[in-house]
C-alpha cells in the first residue's frame, strides 16, 4: 500500500508534502470524519388506526462539524438468513410507501446536538402488515475523491388490523463444522404480524442438568416468512452426549421450543 492518511505513518519531504497537499492529499492533518451519528429508535411499529399517528426519531450528531442528513423511504426484504435487500419505495412486496411520511426530508444537525424527525402514518387498516425502511443518510461534503455516504435504517411496520404474534420452530438439527457442532433451527412466522423471537439454547446432559445456556438475541421474522438461525453449541463441553434445547419468546402467550441430541467426541 502506497500512501496512508494517518499522519504519523509517512514523513514525506517538504517539497513532496507541498505537492501532495496541492493535489488534495492532506498528510499531517488529522483524518477527516465523514460523520458520526446515531439514530433512535430504529424499529417503529404503527397499529391500525382511523387517524394519523406519528413518532419522533432522534438523530444525534456526535461529530465536531454540522451534519447534513437526508431522510427518505426505501422498501426492504429480509431472507431466511436475515440478509436485507433494499428496494426503491413502493417496490417491496408489502410496502408502506403509500401511507408513510417523513418530515423534514433533510435536516442539518449541529455538532454535538440532536434533532428530531417525524415519522407519521396515514390512517391505516390493512389486512396485511406493511413494512418499509426510513434511511437517515449523510450527505457527502468532500469536493473531490471518493465520496463515502453513511446511512442508518429505521424499520417501520404498519401492523395488520387483525393479528397476534405467532411462530414455531419447524426444524432443528445439528450441523457439524470445523469449529464444532452447531444447532441450526428454523423459526417460522405464519401470522400477519412481525415478531422478534429471543431466548436461549440450553445445553443439558442426559441427567437433565443444564450445563450451559447460550443467549439467542432478538431477530426479526416478517409475516409469512422464516429465519434460519445457527448457534454454536459444542464449545468447551467435555466429551459426552447432550441435548440442545432452544426456547424462544416471541411475544405470544406460549414459547417456541425444540430438542435435539448431539455428541461431543
Amino acid at each position: 500500500m502506497a500512501t496512508r492518511c494517518q499522519p504519523h505513518t509517512l514523513r514525506p519531504s517538504r517539497p513532496a508534502l507541498l505537492a501532495l497537499a496541492g493535489s488534495g492529499l492532506l498528510f499531517g492533518a488529522p483524518p477527516a470524519v465523514q460523520g458520526q451519528y446515531s439514530v433512535d429508535p430504529v424499529i417503529v411499529q404503527f397499529s391500525s388506526s382511523d387517524s394519523v399517528r406519528a413518532t419522533a426519531t432522534r438523530i444525534k450528531n456526535d461529530g465536531s462539524q454540522p451534519l447534513d442528513v437526508r431522510l427518505y423511504v426505501n422498501d426492504f426484504e429480509q431472507d431466511e438468513l436475515g440478509t436485507h435487500s433494499f428496494l426503491p419505495a413502493g417496490e417491496g412486496t408489502r410496502s408502506c410507501e403509500s401511507v408513510l411520511r417523513v418530515t423534514p426530508d433533510a435536516i442539518t444537525v449541529p455538532a454535538g446536538e440532536s434533532r428530531y424527525v417525524n415519522i407519521s402514518f396515514e390512517p391505516w387498516k390493512g389486512a396485511d402488515t406493511c413494512w418499509s425502511m426510513v434511511f437517515a443518510a449523510t450527505l457527502a461534503r468532500v469536493p473531490t475523491g471518493l465520496r463515502v455516504r453513511q446511512r442508518i435504517g429505521v424499520k417501520v411496520y404498519g401492523l395488520a388490523l387483525v393479528g397476534e404474534p405467532t411462530g414455531e420452530i419447524t426444524i432443528a438439527e445439528i450441523a457439524r463444522g470445523e469449529d464444532g457442532p452447531k444447532l441450526v433451527f428454523e423459526f417460522e412466522n405464519p401470522g400477519t404480524w412481525p415478531v422478534r423471537p429471543m431466548g436461549s439454547v440450553e445445553i443439558r446432559d442426559y441427567q437433565g442438568r443444564v450445563v450451559r445456556s447460550i443467549d439467542v438475541r432478538p431477530f426479526s421474522v416478517l409475516p409469512g416468512q422464516g429465519r434460519r438461525v445457527s448457534v454454536p453449541v459444542g464449545l468447551g463441553l467435555v466429551a459426552g452426549d447432550y441435548l440442545a434445547v432452544p426456547v424462544l419468546d416471541f411475544g405470544a402467550d406460549y414459547l417456541a421450543g425444540a430438542q435435539v441430541t448431539f455428541s461431543v467426541p
Binding site: 493535489s23 483524518p31 458520526q36 439514530v39 429508535p41 461529530g63 471518493l146 455516504r149
Partner: protein, 159 residues
C-alpha cells in the same frame, strides 16, 4: 409551667421522631431505552493525483480508514457503490465501480459491489471497529485524463 412545657416539647419531639420513623418514600427509577444504532467512518478516501509510477504499478492505494458501528440490537452492515461507473469530470464515465477495491481488516481486496454486500451479518450488540484500505486500478489505455469520482455507501440497519 416550665416542666409542663418541657414535657410537651419532648413529647412532641418523640411523636415527631416516631412519625418520621414510620414515613417511607417510594421512588421508581425509569428510563426508556430505545433501539439505537451508530455509524462513523473516518477519513477522506482521496487518492490525490495518479503518477506515472502508479500507472506502471497498475494501481494506487490509500490506507488507514476506520468504520465504527455500534448498537444495542443485532444489526447488519453493508457496502455498495452508489453507481455502476465512476463519474468523470462530473458526468457518468466508463470506468467501472469494480476498479475500486476495498480491504476490510486485512482480509484481502474485494471489488466494490454494485449491489449491497454484507460486511457484518447480525453484528452483536456493542461496538465494532473495522479497518479499511482502498485501491483504485489504473490503466494507461483506459483512463483518460480527468477527475474521477465514485460515491459509495455504508449502511447499518437493524436485524
Amino acid at each position: 409551667m416550665k416542666r409542663v412545657l418541657t414535657t410537651l416539647v419532648l413529647g412532641s419531639l418523640l411523636f415527631a421522631t416516631s412519625a418520621q420513623a414510620q414515613t417511607t418514600a417510594s421512588q421508581t427509577a425509569r428510563i426508556n431505552v430505545p433501539s439505537i444504532l451508530f455509524i462513523s467512518f473516518t477519513g477522506d478516501v482521496d487518492f490525490g493525483a495518479a503518477a506515472d509510477a502508479d500507472f506502471t504499478a497498475g494501481f494506487k492505494d490509500v490506507t488507514g480508514f476506520t468504520l465504527t458501528h455500534r448498537g444495542n440490537i443485532l444489526h447488519d452492515v453493508t457496502v455498495v457503490a452508489d453507481q455502476a461507473v465512476f463519474n468523470k469530470d462530473g458526468v457518468a464515465g466508463v470506468k467501472p465501480a469494480s476498479d475500486l477495491q476495498y480491504d476490510m481488516d486485512a482480509a484481502g481486496l474485494i471489488a466494490m459491489p454494485v449491489v449491497p454486500v454484507l460486511l457484518d451479518d447480525g453484528a452483536a450488540r456493542g461496538q465494532h471497529t473495522k479497518s479499511f484500505d482502498f485501491r483504485v486500478l489504473l490503466s494507461l489505455l483506459n483512463d483518460d485524463p480527468g477527475l474521477y469520482e465514485l460515491p459509495f455507501t455504508f449502511t447499518v440497519s437493524p436485524d
